[in-house]
Amino acid sequence: MKNLFSNVAMTVAVLAMTSGMAGAASKGVSDGVVKIGVLTDMSGVYSTLGGKGTQVGVEMAVKDFGGKVLGKPIQVIGADHQNKADIASAKAREWIDNEKVDMITGLLNSGCALAVQKLAGDKKRITMNTGAGSTDLTNKACTPYSIHYVYDTYATGKVTAQAIVPTGGKSWFFITADYAFGHSLEQNTTNFVKKMGGKVLGSVRHPLSTSDFSSYLLQAQSSGAQIIGLANAGGDTINAIKQAREFGIDKKGQKLVGLLVFDTDIKSLGLNVAQGMQFTSGFYWDRDNATRAFAKRYYAIHKAMPTMDQAGAYSATMNYLKAIKAAGTDDSDAVMAKLKSMDISDFFAVHGKIRADGRMVHDMYLMEVKKPSESKGEWDLLKIVKTVPAAEAFMPLSESTCPLVKK
């Protein structure tokens, strides 16, 4: 009797599973709702440049789209991964298995991003990464369901190195965040510094979220390098720059270069400290009328201007929803096919295109921090020195080691 019962139960379970799969592959929206999960650093060292502000971007996009796609409601949920890869993948697993989340975005912190991208790929769910930087995401770790939307360490490293090395910054020393992102940024930048005839004298690694950089800065100082490259981000970059100023390092001819800088970092540092610094960004709110219009609406909600991560999350969500509408289904394969074939063009992305390896290429910008006298408002922080076309800024598809790229 017991055997019979368990056999029946098993059969029912198998039937339920197969019918579930069939449902997902058919037309329309699976399980009656399109759910978007914002999984990112909501409370830590990167939360100002992403965090709740990324969720604001996603929610704005959903609202602008009309709140419904193919007649079904769109839901946004958010969670804090605390910069821990294990928490990130546990949350993603829960979202995908129990909450029926269709797409995960945000994903600051390359360590967390790599873990979630792998998991989502195995479960055929789409990730649209707007926060993390590591180039591994579109190389050896790429999946058919992963998109790297805003920037990567190749692009920011290349554009910045090409601006700095020819103007006299020949010798470099790196202060690097000790995890996937920092390593990737240091490696990418090193390659371009060397390619352009510069040399790297050394590097030192610090744990994520360090409050005291003075001893690392002293090592950089005693290396005698002309350029101290900061292969870190967010609160770490802010602290390093502030303390370099305190020790008078910049007064002795050594120059600090942030290899990944966000508007919010400059806001936190103040123009007095940051003026003249050059860095690379995928977005600036004050670029043209369309970005300003978006930024104004965003500011009304979030009380801060959008960073490239936050504006990118809006754009990614909008294009994801457009792709669902065009495909007539939220099935991951069909949506990915649409995303990779359509032009990505909006206030955020100029000449945007999603490649086979998942890299969304678009124009990047070399930025310079304004002098206090040039600034006309609280968020009037930067000027665009140069627009770098998509094809020049990002790693060529031919160099990508992603297995999805046919060679």
């Binding site: 409370s43 060292v45 100002t48 002293l218 090592q219 005693s222 609160g235 305190e246």
Partner: protein, 301 residues
């Protein structure tokens, strides 16, 4: 990497700079533990509160009072912030901690840990987690001093000097004055001291207030160096507890000396093998616990 004398001296000097923060915080912990028997896990959060009182006094107090041009300057903050946070500590002691003295240490630890999480959570909700700059550093402390082997910021030198004065002043009061002898006697045998007409509960309240004020004082000192952030305390407190354990719980001199020494050991480790610098204190803690469980300066009970 070749290790030069200059390099070692510079890093040890920076270590001393961190060391004075360890010393002043672990001193507060030691005073509170020695006299109240409370393991004050809220110490990091109170250090953070101290920095925020200084920051908000500078940026927001004036507008709040309707005087946009009024800023609480750095020197005033050094006094006001410990008073404000100390008063907060007194309220906490009177309303909550007081009820726990008769129970095991663990209850005080849990209560203060919970308080720390609440305070930090509230601040995380309202303030920038990556930190806000405190721009009120006085002009006179700007710039660097040439120490021969390195250029050292004047402000950090000031922090070292004033912290040492406060630490040894506290030690002197507790160990060498009549007031201090009351305090020590009050913890040994409160009933007997009460019989001499000393108000022991008041004394204990004020002691907690003072320990907390020390944390706030360190917070103000730290504000111009680091960004003022809701998590600045939680980053610090774990190391500080290791310092207290190494020095011996409740030993005043022990906590000061250990704080300074461990700061310098950390600095020295950065020259030899930088990645080990964040763990070296805990390694020392393990060794000390194995060899001398009561801590370097603690008495075996």
């Amino acid at each position: 990497m070749d290790i030069s004398f200059q390099m070692v001296m510079s890093q040890v000097m920076l270590g001393l700079n961190n060391g004075v923060f360890y010393a002043i915080l672990s001193l507060g912990l030691a005073v509170i533990f020695g006299l109240l028997n409370i393991v004050n896990f809220a110490h990091g959060a109170l250090y953070m509160l101290g920095a925020y009182v200084a920051l908000l006094g500078f940026t927001s107090l004036g507008p709040l009072l309707g005087m946009p041009d009024f800023h609480l300057n750095y020197w005033a903050a050094l006094i006001v912030s410990p008073l404000v946070v100390g008063a907060f500590g007194i309220v906490v002691e009177r309303t909550m901690l007081r009820r726990l003295y008769k129970f095991d240490h663990l209850y005080g630890l849990l209560l203060t840990f919970g308080l720390a999480l609440i305070i930090q959570g509230v601040f995380t909700n309202f303030f920038n987690v990556s930190g806000d700059p405190y721009e009120a550093k006085p002009e006179i402390l700007n710039g660097v001093v040439n120490l021969g082997f390195m250029m050292f910021p004047k402000y950090r030198l000031w922090v070292i000097v004033v912290s040492l004065l406060v630490c040894f002043g506290t030690w002197y009061v507790i160990e060498r004055t009549k007031l201090g002898s009351y305090l020590r006697a009050g913890t040994e045998n409160p009933e007997l001291v009460k019989a001499f007409g000393v108000n022991v509960p008041l004394m204990i309240t004020l002691t907690y207030g003072y320990g907390v004020a020390l944390a706030a004082f360190a917070g103000v000192l730290a504000a111009p160096i680091y960004s003022v952030s809701p998590v600045m305390g939680s980053e610090m407190i774990i190391t500080v507890f290791a310092v207290v354990v190494i020095g011996g719980m409740g030993s005043i001199m022990g906590s000061i000396v250990t704080g300074l020494l461990l700061g310098m050991v950390e600095g020295f480790t950065k020259v030899v093998y930088a990645p080990a610098s964040s763990t070296v204190i805990f390694l020392i803690m393990v060794i000390v616990l194995l060899v001398k469980p009561a801590g370097l300066f603690g008495k075996e009970s």
